[in-house]
Point group: D2
Chain length 320, copies 4
């Protein structure tokens, strides 16, 4: 039975190929997590178990896909950054996005029991409305996703800063809102009304004066979100910035000095070198930290995130 009669339908398929030499950010977002967080009794404003699970799933994604150079997460969203030289799936948009979304979802669901049930949740009741912390088929966590291209390192840094500033703004608001509700006994509507038009300093003041909370003592994970990357031995940041790659000229050299890096191409390392880099990358520990990524300091110490080339392994980090 020949299939040729119907095969013409393949001509309707379209492949969006993302522009070369751009940083690709795949951002995923929890679908309907407001409802889901109620169903599974997430603590407000931040549920440590839920954030840990996000981080575990994201860490799994980063470890599974070496082309991801850094990831940043806050609340129920996570951004995964593919190095601008990546040629994974020939940069086909749908492949990149769905692979990240599916890998994240699979890990999130598979790791749920270790995170939520271990903490004392009851057994899932299948279809039931009763709840408990075991996953119910009627309330499975799912994520949508999208890809965005950023042409320059400056744009990428701004993107990540945007997410981290957003984390700060939202967390300060939520911390104050829930303090008013949970400790201050206000209704959600009253709390919302109370905070309308307030600026950061107002919220800090409310937290301190009414509840004795110093916002800066809140956990870093809540205030700064989570950053995931491969860790190598830190580089000194004392040298000229040029040398540690932050103001370096990767795609900004004159043409005579242009190299493959500046062209957005993977350097034609020898096969032996490539194998070696691959091995180093696989040995590197994928770490999760909760630090400022807006200022230059983080980046100055970790030039491998921008360069895409593995740094020096830290001996006691190495996986056995």
């Amino acid at each position: 039975m020949a299939n040729s009669k119907y095969e013409y339908v393949r001509a309707f398929e379209r492949d969006e190929v993302l522009l070369p030499n751009t940083w690709i950010v795949v951002r995923i977002d929890g679908r309907g997590f407001h409802k889901l967080s109620t169903h599974y009794h997430f603590t407000k404003p931040n549920d440590v178990r839920a954030l840990n699970l996000m981080n575990l799933a994201a860490s799994h994604v980063v470890a599974s896909i070496p082309d991801i150079t850094i990831a940043y997460g806050v609340s129920d969203e996570y951004s995964f950054v593919f190095h601008k030289t990546t040629n994974l799936f020939e940069r086909r948009c749908a492949k990149l996005v769905t692979t990240v979304v599916s890998t994240f979802t699979a890990a999130y669901v598979a790791l749920w029991p270790s995170t939520f049930e271990a903490s004392g949740g009851g057994v899932g009741d299948g279809d039931g409305g009763g709840g408990g912390d075991a996953l119910s088929l009627t309330m499975l966590p799912t994520f949508d996703g999208r890809a965005v291209c950023y042409p320059s390192w400056g744009n990428l840094r701004d993107y990540l800063s945007w997410r981290q500033v957003d984390c700060h703004i939202n967390n300060l608001y939520n911390t104050t809102f829930w303090a008013l509700v949970q400790q201050g006994g206000m209704s959600p509507t009253a709390a919302e009304e109370h905070l309308k038009g307030s600026v950061s300093s107002d919220k800090n003041e409310i937290l301190w004066s009414k509840f004795g909370i110093n916002y800066n003592d809140e956990p870093d994970m809540f205030r700064k979100g989570s950053v995931i990357f491969r860790e190598y031995a830190l580089e000194p940041s004392t040298g000229p910035k040029q040398e540690v790659g932050i103001e370096g000229a990767d795609d900004e050299v004159g043409i005579e000095g242009a190299d493959d890096e500046s062209r957005g191409l993977q350097s034609p390392v020898t096969k032996t070198q490539a194998e070696k880099m691959k091995k180093i990358r696989r040995k590197a520990k994928v770490v999760t930290s909760h630090v400022d990524i807006i200022r230059d300091e983080f980046w100055l110490h970790r030039p491998w995130i921008r360069s895409g080339k593995p740094g020096k392994l830290i001996v006691d980090h190495v996986k056995s």
Copy 2:
């Protein structure tokens, strides 16, 4: 702290909106399922547990997203058809694809234990290589996906026929190949060589003469794949085709007779009617069957798949 300084990065986001009045097919495919099927000891050429799990996950997707009018699956792939009038997520490509992929993945992972562990598999050993049928974090099932638009009903029917013919071709080959290997004692290479250049009748003959297998007695699920849809009372197919909607003129009327359907727009039913339709759709049973969808018969009896309008509920199917 104002976020406006960084917010310009949103301008780099692009939304691909799929052409209105076209049938949207989201097809998902298992990633690296060859390796995965070995790891989890899938039976060759068909593993009933694995196929059942695919069907359960797909059924969950169809039940969760009412805009999906039919789905068709074979092996580790599944195609979900959104009705051409859908306006879900304003037809944004990334949202549609990632929602399907994530919902499918979540269900597949969550339902794995009920399908695979119940059948006698050992407990997963986390990182281990030992195997067993419990999910291991190092070998999570994941799926990629893509969306394709088909402008006409004829194109959509051809798409589905293409997949079902493919199912037939592959299954006949695999059945014969594995019979040669498992029962005939051939090496995989020898079996491959043996089948090179063979046509359907050759394979049927090999199966029958060497192994006493009548290919037509193989289970329908293997030979025809799986079709998932909402079931209503079947319509008679004796009337003129026109009336049961197969050759009907939905987008092919002259302009004076054009209606919203022909324009690819959702009919402006009253709010009460819409509520009623929604209720009926929710009550309809989502069924999985293994039938021919190439010929007209299947479609003639189920005009609601093409029209997108719910049929008559079957009383004893109705969910309580």
Copy 3:
């Protein structure tokens, strides 16, 4: 000197391929024609020379590109419809659009002298502001363009109806506005104010009572725009609509009855037949008329526009 070092830049090129089996409309619009029409002293509200030039240029485009099945123009815009089975330039969007825009522009500029200078314009003064009807380099007519895909015949008919209704609305307004200004002595602002909120019947009434103008006596070209197509012997419209192709089922047959037409594919006619069709098409006269294309009648008599297959040549139309 090898070019390979730089050739990688080709990888940044993207080709948007328009969805098969959809009607492609390329619409062009005059750029800055308000200013241009003042510069070249166009008569208000309609300049016959300018409209004729638009029609001549469009006619040249239709004659040059056989895949265009019909074109419709009004004011300084023109829509060119490529048959849904076209495979011109492999349906690459940029090629289709720029070819139409460039061919139209070239003809418009080349034909300008025969249309405008013949009517008594002076010689162009190059850079000058003085004007005259000869083309000045500082005020060259240019056009932008875009492509839109319409999946069904109903959508295409609605598109063309949309443009013709727009022509009617604008022309009635402009006719009344300029009558108030030119014959009624109102200032443009006063006329605009006077017409604010008026409906069609109001404007008809103003024209008739104040200026003795029966709007229906205005030239068809002003009221209905211009339609350009290949003319063959008209078909009778008395038969069942089915047969003359308006409600016909081109892409709406059941699959068993599906043919290449319904798949959006060009029929595999023999080489001899293709040659014959090509010859007929080349012999057919490209005509410009000013008729209603909203109602079915126009289409019923000219089934070749929809089918894409040439009709019977009219003997005395045939080009020698």
Copy 4:
């Protein structure tokens, strides 16, 4: 008469918006210029009139669209580079491409008589095949076009180098080929055969030994193509490259040092400043030269091409 019934068709329109902070190159190509060059008796291998006309038309495009920072042309193709900060037409692809194509075509056709007829051509014979140098309606020059985005300055420089190397390769081949045919009396086929597998030095040798032609004495316009840009007072290139902007870090600074330029945004100059820049730009002379643009030198002296900010006017260049 309400138009709302049909207006839904606008929902089928798609706008491709080109990625911000990327250099946009619109490249146009003559359609069927092989045939056209024969029809109008172009001199082989290079027709000075035809090249001059290309340059005049391109110069008109650059002068008309201030967002174009440089253009490069060879044979019947021209590349127009929009500065990466441009927001013209909100960076809509179709608008940018068709505007360039139409403006170029209009100028090319309008300027044809001054270039070709002045040189002694006969009067066009309308439909005729006889030829002559006046434009014939049956052989109008037209151009297609496309847009490509280049994320970095290095990529853009490589693109332009690619075109100029191509110019060199083709011109050396064509010069040798036509010498063999015109002066050497070879048939085209024989000449082609003769050159098969030859490298640059072979062709130089043929030209010199057989025809006494020193390829380097060929006109620059033939060997290097044409570069069009706004000319300001040259900048010294002795300073550090950093300062003249070639290796400068425009989008490569760390985030603390990031400015609007590095973000791909137009600097928020004051309205007065913007007016002043606009005025300077308008006064700048658009020049055409035939120089090497592969090496850094050209760029070091003309930093305004990369920065997009006007330089210092050259007094005697200023348009009156």
